[in-house]
């Protein structure tokens, strides 16, 4: 399990390839990469990500532990950048290695929903019209809350692992 909070860029392809290379129990790898968006309706010159040094990595690691309690994960990677980022650059990457695909997909979404609304990062956009702090959106909060109602159990997944040859 790896958590990295860094200012420098990362190579999502290389990170994905490195995850669980020799692991033959894994049938499934789900991954998410978030990038700095710049669209014509909202052009962005750059984005600056502030974070809470000291708290950030520990807080993310706690949440990775929670994901491991919920699903039988074989490996897990979280990278989140801070500092100044340009449009098209990677901000965040989550990758999860598991026996089956539903576990991998759900754990990756769970971790992303957490990072969006509970990890101590704040984004500021620099635009032609000036700079502004990105506001939290209701949808991200709702996305996070759907996990509350979900029992933290992997029994369901286990019950069909014997029949599942891959993914």
């Amino acid at each position: 399990m790896t958590v990295r909070v860094q200012s420098g860029p990362f190579d999502s392809g290389r990170e994905l390839a490195a995850l669980g290379g020799a692991e033959t129990k894994a049938g499934a790898m789900a991954c998410f990469v978030g990038k700095v968006r710049s669209v014509s309706a909202n052009p962005i010159a750059s984005m600056t990500v502030e974070h809470y040094p000291g708290m950030t990595e520990a807080a993310i690691s706690q949440h990775v532990d929670e994901a491991k309690r919920r699903w039988p994960l074989l490996d897990c990677l979280v990278i989140h950048r801070f500092g100044k980022l340009m449009p098209g650059e990677n901000i965040v990457m989550v990758a999860v290695l598991a026996e089956h695909r539903s576990e991998a997909f759900r754990a990756a979404e769970f971790l992303m929903d957490y990072l969006k609304s509970r990890a101590p990062f704040w984004k500021k956009e620099m635009t032609p019209a000036g700079s502004r702090w990105v506001e939290a959106v209701r949808q991200d909060e709702e996305a996070l809350q759907r996990w509350d109602s979900e029992p933290a159990s992997s029994d369901q997944n286990q019950s069909f692992s014997d029949f599942h040859p891959s993914g």
Partner: protein, 82 residues
Amino acid sequence: MVEVLYFAWVRERIGIPREQVETEAGTVGEFIEELKGRGGRYEMALSDLSSVRFAVDQQLAESATEIRDAREIAVFPPMTGG
């Protein structure tokens, strides 16, 4: 003495990233009321408590969270990571 950290627009509005504060407050909520009581930039930055979040000793906290033994309190807007 507790170390107080401000992030994002809370930091910008208050004008400093951190400071040492002497407080008798028992909870985060009481502590924030103390800060607001200073008026000026503090009152402006903390006027809408629904848009402010807290951490006590680097754990997310609520208004009701106890701060008796806290070493570090952080005040910041809702997080926007990912």
